[in-house]
């Protein structure tokens, strides 16, 4: 059962990766990367249990955090760029 | 464990390393060069960790009933190397930001062209100054 779940997660990761490649807009890439990160957390949790890795849960927890932080960083990047663009148009540099 | 999976990791490492190398030497964009450097770094990390692995081994944390551990030494080296790697990457990024402020570009060719133009004007100025002093 664990194996089936792991295979399902791997398939989903591959799909998300394809979306990250194709991604017509940058927002799609961001979404795909976020989804990929979540799947990685699940993969480590399940795979670690199946293969009895040592202290895999710490790493999974850390991933969950880092994934969130990374997504927020990307969003802030958009926000800032938009504002920079506005200022550039306004001529206040 | 037969030969092909035994060496497969090394080939992955070689492929990654060459990909990073290619990016570093062929791409003109400095930020991308840094990403290539990061790739190269990661491949070296994988190489070390691969060498430290031991079949049937466990992570090197002493637990009851486990007798084979992976080699902890490469882990230590790579652990510090990752943090140092991010620090050096940060230095590179800072340099790139300064370069962008000074030249208005992060493309190697454009910077080079600007440099050459700068040198030319400076040479001309120097020549004119010499002429005027004479």
């Amino acid at each position: 059962m664990l194996t089936a779940a792991i295979i399902a997660i791997l398939v989903t990761m591959a799909l998300a990766l394809v979306r990250a490649f194709l991604g017509p807009t940058e927002y799609d890439r961001m979404l795909a990367a976020n989804s990929f990160g979540t799947k990685t957390v699940l993969l480590i949790a399940l795979g670690g249990h199946a293969l009895s890795w040592h202290s895999y849960l710490d790493v999974a927890l850390l991933y969950a955090m880092v994934n969130f932080v990374g997504t927020i960083a990307v969003m802030r990047f958009f926000e800032n760029r938009r504002q920079d663009g506005k200022e550039g148009a306004g001529g206040a540099s | 464990m037969n030969e092909i999976p035994g060496l497969f990791n090394y080939w992955v490492v070689v492929f990654l390393m060459m990909a990073g190398f290619y990016v570093v030497i062929s791409q003109g964009n400095l930020v991308k060069k840094l990403v290539g450097l990061g790739l190269f770094q990661a491949s070296v990390f994988i190489l070390y960790i691969t060498m430290g692995n031991l079949s049937g081994g466990q992570a090197p944390i002493v637990t009851e009933g486990v007798f084979i551990y992976s080699n902890p030494l490469p882990h230590v080296l790579i652990l510090t190397a990752i943090v140092v790697g991010v620090a050096t990457t940060a230095v590179g990024l800072a340099l790139i930001v300064r370069i962008h402020e000074a030249y208005g570009s992060v493309e190697e060719d454009e910077i080079h062209a600007l440099d050459m133009a700068d040198d030319d004007t400076r040479l001309q100025e120097g020549a004119e100054r010499e002429e005027s002093s004479e």
């Binding site: 059962m1 399902a8 979306r19 989804s35 979540t38 957390v41 249990h49 969003m75 | -």
Partner: protein, 113 residues
């Protein structure tokens, strides 16, 4: 007791993997960004707890169980937030959702990126 646990865990895991794959397919096949957010976000938010619950039911009672619970709570807290914030950032950033079928043929071109 163990049989019940095994079966519940199996059901959880299967449901989780089904949702996971559904989300992945949706992420790939949906026509525009907002429907993709929908596909990925909703399924992911349910799939992750399901899978982790299935995992928890298989483990013995230990500190690891608490850690899995923490991961669960963390994912449960961050994932919807991140998805919502992403959708909002996209909307602010100028992307418009596809509304009708006729628009999908005209407006699919990446006019603003």
């Amino acid at each position: 007791m163990t049989l019940v646990l095994e079966w519940t865990s199996a059901i959880f895991l299967l449901a989780g993997s089904f949702l996971c794959i559904t989300g992945g397919v949706g992420l790939l096949r949906m026509p525009d960004f907002f429907s993709r957010v929908h596909a990925a976000g909703v399924t992911e938010t349910l799939a992750a707890p399901l899978l982790l619950c299935g995992l928890m039911l298989q483990m013995e009672w230990s500190l690891d169980l608490v850690k899995v619970l923490m991961i669960l709570l963390f994912v449960l807290a961050t994932n919807p937030t991140a998805t919502q914030a992403m959708a909002k950032a996209t909307l602010i950033g100028g992307q418009k959702p596809l509304v009708t079928e006729s628009e999908s043929t005209k407006g699919d071109s990446p006019s603003n990126s």
